[in-house]
Symmetry: D2
Subunit: 277 residues, 4 copies
Amino acid sequence: MAENEDVSEDLYWRTGVSEVEPENVSIRGYDLEDLIGLPFGAMAFLLIRSRLPTPAETKVFDALLTGVLDYGLQKPGTAAARYVVSSNPNMQAGLATAALAAGDFSLAPENAARFIQERHREFIEAGSGDLEAFARSVVEDADRTRLRIPGFGHPVFKGVDPRGAKLKKIAQEAGLWGEPARLYEAIHAEFIKNPKRSHFPINDVGILAAISIAIGLSPEESTAMAIIGTLPGVTAHISEELNARKPVRVIPPKDTYTSISRRDVVADLKDAGWDCP
Amino acid sequence: MAENEDVSEDLYWRTGVSEVEPENVSIRGYDLEDLIGLPFGAMAFLLIRSRLPTPAETKVFDALLTGVLDYGLQKPGTAAARYVVSSNPNMQAGLATAALAAGDFSLAPENAARFIQERHREFIEAGSGDLEAFARSVVEDADRTRLRIPGFGHPVFKGVDPRGAKLKKIAQEAGLWGEPARLYEAIHAEFIKNPKRSHFPINDVGILAAISIAIGLSPEESTAMAIIGTLPGVTAHISEELNARKPVRVIPPKDTYTSISRRDVVADLKDAGWDCP
Amino acid sequence: MAENEDVSEDLYWRTGVSEVEPENVSIRGYDLEDLIGLPFGAMAFLLIRSRLPTPAETKVFDALLTGVLDYGLQKPGTAAARYVVSSNPNMQAGLATAALAAGDFSLAPENAARFIQERHREFIEAGSGDLEAFARSVVEDADRTRLRIPGFGHPVFKGVDPRGAKLKKIAQEAGLWGEPARLYEAIHAEFIKNPKRSHFPINDVGILAAISIAIGLSPEESTAMAIIGTLPGVTAHISEELNARKPVRVIPPKDTYTSISRRDVVADLKDAGWDCP
Amino acid sequence: MAENEDVSEDLYWRTGVSEVEPENVSIRGYDLEDLIGLPFGAMAFLLIRSRLPTPAETKVFDALLTGVLDYGLQKPGTAAARYVVSSNPNMQAGLATAALAAGDFSLAPENAARFIQERHREFIEAGSGDLEAFARSVVEDADRTRLRIPGFGHPVFKGVDPRGAKLKKIAQEAGLWGEPARLYEAIHAEFIKNPKRSHFPINDVGILAAISIAIGLSPEESTAMAIIGTLPGVTAHISEELNARKPVRVIPPKDTYTSISRRDVVADLKDAGWDCP
């Protein structure tokens, strides 16, 4: 980059994502105009991994982005977004709300991804090459320290989670089901040897995490992809809500138990030491 | 400010809120250490109006901040915040969500404040000094153009909104119920001459807007104060939710009507012109 | 849907986006498992338009999603997201921030989309069929009422905005450059007859708005697609920031002009009528 | 509560914050009308602690809310909020952004509060009553496991942080500097015996955490109070930004080092295995 050749690398900000010049925007080195109209999944891969994906990688990346898609009103972020726009009819506010609802209890594969990444790093460092033995020690450790292994079990599906199975199939057919994913499966195989949990599948979040690692995403980026993947559905719900013309949604009082005893403010202020008339 | 004397005013950013030096933070000209522990309402006034309030102004400002306080689960922002933290147990995400729910249909006095401010500006410019006549023309204009005047009417209260009445009383006793507020009342008096709306009170949002203008806030700042005023209540609700241990709240299916017909993806893709196996 | 056949349509919530049953999730009528792995752009179309797109529509939809992609640190939402995660290293918070930065001054084609949609509705209602004559009256009206027509002009590009040109080419080749878009072009042609603005192109936001209308999106949905389209780039920037290990970014003091005079809090409190020691 | 007497406690939602009836809102048992106009700090205490504070508690609570107040443009959340509203001129979006910027690296006393709370619980459970001995073991443990103790050290202040000192003085004068705070001080006293860190003060965040625990807040609530306390300042900054008329703020290019090499998209797609013309 001739323009920056003599520029210090000590500047306050650094970026390698894009370069913006008056007449040209270069995205990871490619002219924006050349990228407009290419499939969005491939472009998302380019932005994050800093290189163009192969067709196989694009297929898996699309699977990652479509692994959840929507969950009706059974997803906290969608419910929250509809409440928000019922009062503030603003698309941006609704989408931001849905993003904020991803976390420890839904839509964030990052805990499982971090688990897989760290266990695989330890496996590599241990150097034994024996997946089964390593998996056994992981489950024993988890049992002893009462650590929950993320991504196992489902409230409905026993044995197999069909969404997880479909995701795994796509990754395997693409040749992108790597060693970390196989280690995770070995851990799962060991985990279900305990009869009390023999029916626990690897759930869809677990598989999404495994694929995210296989495709080179950081744990945080796996959460970002889960969020982006659900935003078209959230958009559809926000449109429904804007068209519903039910301003100011509330929690239906019939669903709420309220337990409050009436009190007297003047008496209680005096009791609390205030000097009031 | 000796330090900045020779500094160009052309810098990219300008601020007059605070000055931060290594050993000293000056807030609107006062040392932060001297302000710590003063009443929060007075400090909020200082930050926004750039001068210390009188005791009367502080009283009215506290009224502004306590005008809503909480509305149980009957407020969209509180519902949304609880949904969000049921999935992402994070205080910041919950508070941000509640802020985003302020808007055209609740918790944003700014539309009413803008109405009062603009009408009062026109009244001053007209120069007649006759509040009643001007109010009459405002209502006639609104009726002709079918414009809803913000801040009038309440789903429950007829004639008087007791919260609005309390707020007005505090502002009047403080001597801070100014001409814009009186003009708004005159418009209301004219408005309820129509028998069909004779029972419409000025509601609490309307009074909050009138007081905001009286105390020198911009319309946007009136919304900010309404938001800040409810955040302690939102905090209490988020704590309740974090303690409820009900991860992943959903909209109860019994409250939802879903209308979807099943379709076949392969057939429909072909119909749409795709070439698929 | 047998389960709901006898269910009242009067329930508090209604949705037609998805149906969630214990063992099955149906998205716009299709089994989630059948959709996993299809291209994300097509799935976004399905969620929002409630039907599968044709290949041509998918191409245009991908163009919509890739029309901006990234703008380095020259985009307020990206800057804001990096500031946020420098203090709160949390992907969700960063993505939500970027979504909130879409608005009147960037990343929200909805104002232009609303303009096109409303003018086209008036054109249909007028019934003359003469695009040029109607366009002339639109520009005359705008000039008379000093209304800015959204989507015209660019700080750098004169005559043609190459990104806009690429987007238009894709839509035209797909046969999806409809009458609203042609009306918008006619308005533009009329607009640049004024020599002072003869060099104003339709900019990329204007073209994105025109395509959004052509493809059946609501104005708010056009903003949603612009936001979603930039989130992979925002994800990349957040990853850069999380790896930068520069906690607590600030506005560099050298970029800031601060104008504050020191004051004495005790003296000023007394002046304001407070009774303090 | 007569109305709910026969209502099951099994309802989906439960709350004890407020009860909303058509004509009455009861906040923690008090009529909203009776609370309007009371000092905001006392009301915030009521909402969160579910009882009215004493005058001493109110003083300390106000100290908590005014402990930071503002930090000019040297606070990531304020910078982020100004970037956001420069594109989306919306108060709510700006305030939400500022809330999201509280986190591990600033404005979130909760890590320190959690540390104090947990160490104090262990101290109670240990039952020895010897603060100094327990403090010594805490520091030894931290040194051995290389755990950073939160709330110690300041980039500028050596020995004493004057803001922390002021906060402590207020809490002590109010008689609200309890055993957990004294334990934290004992840990600090032990910590600075190491000559390399003899100049580390307890910083303002550490003292805010100690006071939060003393006043009965949960760690998450301490973060909420820090956020609420800074929002009036953020409001002032947003107003400045809305008045600055500098739409679409960017990171000044002169502050940015961009490192990107140009690439050819067609060649690279072919290399990646794509079949393109």
